[in-house]
């Protein structure tokens, strides 16, 4: 059972990956609807082939696990694509939505599958979706539908099932047959299926007119074929396919001697069993006398051109056969071969799926190792000793530990492409709903970030994109009136900057409306006065206040004005930062700065009296020794320091944390200028001790529950084993904010 579980998980992960690739390709098809590309252009047919192949793979794998709802849905999607691909249907926007719907459905089913280990609960939804697909498909004359839809469609998809295996050949051949677990599962499953087929055939001989039995038989043979396809077993797949076709003919009223058909099929079961045997012995799973076996079937029903010549080395020459038979043109074959060659190096890239929990404990352990190493090398017992050999060994160890730490961090890094491609879909849906024309341009999608960081970025990104579409971009008419191109552009880019990742979301819409923001802020009591003296930055930051929204109306697209607040909160959770830049009429840029990883940060250690604190380097702008005459004290006791024509409020850490500092005079200590959310504050400390890599540890839940910890985001363990607090610059700047806001 547990093995089963693992296979299901593997399947679920695999299909999720496939879906991630699917969506962008589906959206490519939109270009046809927009008239940017012809349906038969190479780019589109490439996309169509891609989508087709992906759906086919999903169908294959889910059929293998008997997840019938997923299988059938991907099957009808595949059929639709086939029609489009063959040119017999024109791409319509509705189809794209439908295909997206199939992706969504599959996603949902996977969620369901993860919980319940089957997809039975999804039957109703699948039905609805399949019905829609079939309505579209039956726009053309179709054979009468019998039972579960699979059949009626199967009949008209036959012509291309022959191609499908080749594509599988190109893509999947390297793994499935070599994966012992998959093979084992396949063998078991196939044996069971053969058993069932045998029983049903025998039953059929007894009652040749039992339609229900025939349908059942058809279903089992079809699944068996699917499994063979999944394993790239071309021969048994062809044989079972021919059996399926014959059976279908019979179901649809082909006049034959049913007993004879059943007898014939029974003899083929032996061949299948031989194949299974061959595979379990590590063989390639060929059927030696395939042609001889296919011949009698052909007597009953014309098997169409796809099953004709048996080649000596079908695997190698499969492409040529297809060319001969006119199924693919030589050009297509060349490009297919090119793809195959292109893909070969990829196959060598070896991936391994690892449980995230294991990875997390590895990272934690390495964190501990860094601390332990520090404690060892800086051990107080060694003070004052001349230990040349020890130092050399220590240095070596330090180097290794650092490398180990880097490597471990790198393991968790994954490209943002996955998240970005989701945005494609989002923009597509939003554009449809809001009737705006939008072009989403993505760059830097190969930028890598920690997996957990990426997960935390999805929500903010979704919010920001929604905002950009709903509040930022204007309607096509408005844009034309403003002299802009009708189609709005949203730029989504990611890049590495100074050890962090920066993500830009830039739109060329109407920009932020300063007056409207100020008016709302006044109405909500966030500011007093007319707000005219606020800088643009300050105005923009008002948007990040909880519950702030300037949207005139709540639309389906963007929520209730909790957006920016949530964005900020999410980013704070991963120690990131948001900045807004906007110019009225020209658009808005949102910049997200995100640390690569949440486990380790660059920290600056500062000292106040006897206590040490870590300030994240990310938020430090500069450090200064203030001259006495640059300090101004306001009548209500707030201290301001002038640095190059700007006044910054001073936060005395010793006062905030009730400590005894070396000096109380500002000019005898050091001011660390920190920035958070576009606001600055100077932290008054006694000394800057130095910079160091800081392994972040959370404060105990108990502390969080018991007290009202402000200004501390976590802690770390120093070389001497003592615990050092990491300052939360957001909160520290906030401490001063109340005062500043009142002043305004």
């Amino acid at each position: 059972m547990s093995e089963n579980l693992e296979i299901i998980h593997e399947f679920s992960n695999e299909v999720r990956d496939l879906l991630e690739q699917l969506e962008p390709s589906i959206l490519d098809l939109e270009k046809v609807c927009n008239g940017e590309q012809a349906q038969d252009s190479p780019e589109i047919s490439e996309a169509l082939n891609n989508i087709f192949r992906l759906f086919h793979s999903i169908k294959g794998s889910s059929g293998f696990l008997q997840l019938n709802n997923i299988t059938e849905t991907s099957h009808v999607a595949e059929s639709l694509l086939d029609r489009i691909r063959s040119g017999s249907m024109q791409i319509l926007p509705g189809y794209i939505d439908l295909l997206c719907g199939a992706c969504d459905f599959t996603h949902e089913s996977l969620d369901y599958l993860d919980k319940h280990l089957n997809d039975e609960g999804m039957a109703e939804k699948a039905r609805g979706l399949i019905d829609t697909f079939q309505k579209i498909l039956s726009g053309e004359a179709l054979p009468p539908t019998v039972g579960t839809g699979t059949k009626s469609i199967e009949s008209e998809t036959e012509t291309r099932t022959a191609e499908a295996p080749i594509q599988i050949d190109l893509d999947q051949e390297p793994d499935n047959l070599k994966n012992p677990r998959v093979v084992e599962f396949f063998l078991q499953e196939a044996q069971d299926q053969l058993q069932v087929i045998e029983q049903d055939l025998l039953g059929w001989i007894k009652s040749p007119d039992d339609t229900e039995l025939m349908n059942k038989l058809f279903g089992t043979i079809h699944s068996f074929k699917g499994n063979c396809g999944f394993m790239n077993l071309a021969d048994p797949e062809r044989l079972s396919h021919s059996m399926e076709t014959l059976l279908e003919g019979v179901i649809n009223g082909l006049e034959v001697d049913r007993t004879e058909v059943a007898d014939l099929m029974l003899t083929h079961l032996t061949a299948f069993r031989e194949v299974l045997h061959d595979i379990s012995d590590g063989g390639p799973g060929r059927i030696i006398d395939l042609e001889r076996r296919l011949a009698p079937i052909r007597e009953f029903i014309s098997l169409e051109e796809e099953v004709k010549e048996e080649s000596e080395e079908p695997r190698v020459k499969l492409g040529e056969i297809l060319v001969e038979e006119g199924i693919v043109s030589p050009e297509e074959l060349q490009s297919a071969l090119a793809t195959q060659n292109d893909k070969k190096p990829l196959a060598k890239k070896q991936d391994i799926r690892v449980n995230l929990g294991k990875l997390d404990s590895l990272i934690t352990l390495i964190g501990e190792l860094v601390i332990a190493e520090n404690m060892l090398i800086n051990n107080p017992d060694l003070d004052g000793l001349e230990l040349e050999n020890f130092s050399r060994a220590a240095q070596q160890m330090n180097k290794l530990v650092n490398e180990l730490q880097e490597m471990a961090t790198a393991i968790r890094l994954i490209p943002v492409a996955g998240v970005f491609s989701r945005m494609n879909r989002l923009v597509h849906d939003l554009a449809r709903k809001s009737k705006k024309k939008i072009d989403l341009q993505i760059s830097g999608e190969s930028t890598e970030m920690d997996k957990s960081v990426i997960e935390n970025v999805i929500d903010p990104l979704t919010h920001l994109i929604r905002n950009a579409v709903d509040h930022g971009l204007e309607s096509p008419e408005e844009r034309l009136a403003a002299g802009k191109p009708e189609t709005g552009v949203i730029l989504l880019s990611a890049s590495h900057e100074e050890g962090d990742v920066t993500i830009y979301i830039k739109d060329d819409g109407r920009g932020l409306n300063r007056e409207k923001i100020i008016a709302t802020a006044k109405r909500k009591g966030l500011i007093t006065g007319d707000g005219s003296q606020l800088t643009d930055l300050q105005v923009h930051n008002l948007l990040f206040r909880p519950g702030f929204s300037t949207a005139d109306k709540i639309t389906e697209v963007s929520g209730r004005g909790v957006g920016m607040d949530v964005v900020l909160q999410n980013l704070k959770n991963i120690r990131g930062n948001v900045q807004l830049k906007s110019k009225a009429g020209e658009g808005t840029t949102v910049m997200l700065r995100i640390p690569l990883t949440m486990a380790i940060i660059d920290g600056m250690m500062v000292r106040v009296g006897k206590s040490l604190f870590i300030v994240p380097i990310l938020s430090i702008r500069e450090s200064i020794c203030p001259a006495a005459d640059t300090v101004t004290v306001t009548p209500d006791g707030h201290e301001l320091v002038r640095i190059r024509e700007h006044l910054f409020p001073v936060v005395r850490l010793h006062a905030a944390y009730d400590l005894v500092p070396d000096n109380y005079e500002l000019d005898k200590g050091i001011l660390v200028v920190v920035e958070a959310q576009g606001r600055n504050a100077c932290l008054f400390v006694d000394e800057i001790v130095g910079q160091q890599q800081t392994v972040i540890k959370g404060l105990s839940d108990f502390i969080v529950k018991t007290g009202n910890v402000r200004g501390v985001s976590g802690c770390t363990i120093l070389g001497d084993g003592s615990v050092c607090l990491i300052l939360d610059t957001h909160a520290l700047v906030e401490m001063d904010k109340t005062a500043e806001m009142q002043k305004i």
Binding site: S611, K697, S700, I703, T706, G707, C724
Partner: protein, 171 residues
């Protein structure tokens, strides 16, 4: 099969644990009184070490310590009982207890011993409205001696509920 076997083993272990730990209390001394806490909650006892203060915490939360790479909070039980503070010395101990997976260190004056107090020797706590009375699980008797048995859960979490409701009432 194997998994099941293991599950049984685990259960047996648990029973053993329960059996050996039942009725056993770690006793310690604060000011003039002897207290006891159920040994099942205690993971270890360590000497006093440097504590990093955390701002804006109640007085009785002394801060956090590094316990072999784990950062755990430390509570001064003396201050928790609103007794006058006392300089820490070489007999001061931190008793590390674990509840629901969270470790907390309790600073006590001295640790005495582990004693057996059978259930029939434990009397229910006096019904007192006095502050701190709520932490008592029962009164254990060993011959002539009396040990105040404490409810760890309440020591860790009780007051904050009280203060919380006070705060909301006054607000």
């Amino acid at each position: 099969m194997n998994a099941n076997q293991n599950a049984f083993d685990l259960d047996d272990d648990l029973f053993d644990d329960e059996d050996t730990q039942k009725d056993k209390y770690l006793t310690f001394c604060i000011a003039t009184e002897d207290y006891g806490i159920a040994i099942a909650n205690v993971t270890e006892i360590i000497g006093i070490q440097s504590i990093t203060e955390i701002p804006e915490m109640p007085e009785y939360i002394k801060g956090v310590i590094n316990l072999r790479g784990k950062v755990i909070p430390v509570m001064d039980v003396r201050l928790r009982f609103k007794l006058p503070p006392r300089e820490y010395d070489e007999r001061t101990c931190i008793v590390v207890v674990e509840i629901d997976g969270a470790s907390v260190g309790l600073v006590v004056d001295t640790v005495n011993e582990v004693v057996d107090i059978p259930e029939d020797q434990v009397e229910p706590p006096p019904k007192s409205k006095h502050k701190g009375g709520g932490y008592i699980q029962g009164i254990g008797k060993i011959g002539k001696e009396v040990k105040i048995l404490l409810d760890i859960n309440k020591i860790l979490y009780e007051e904050e509920l009280a203060t919380l409701s006070e705060a909301t009432q006054s607000a």
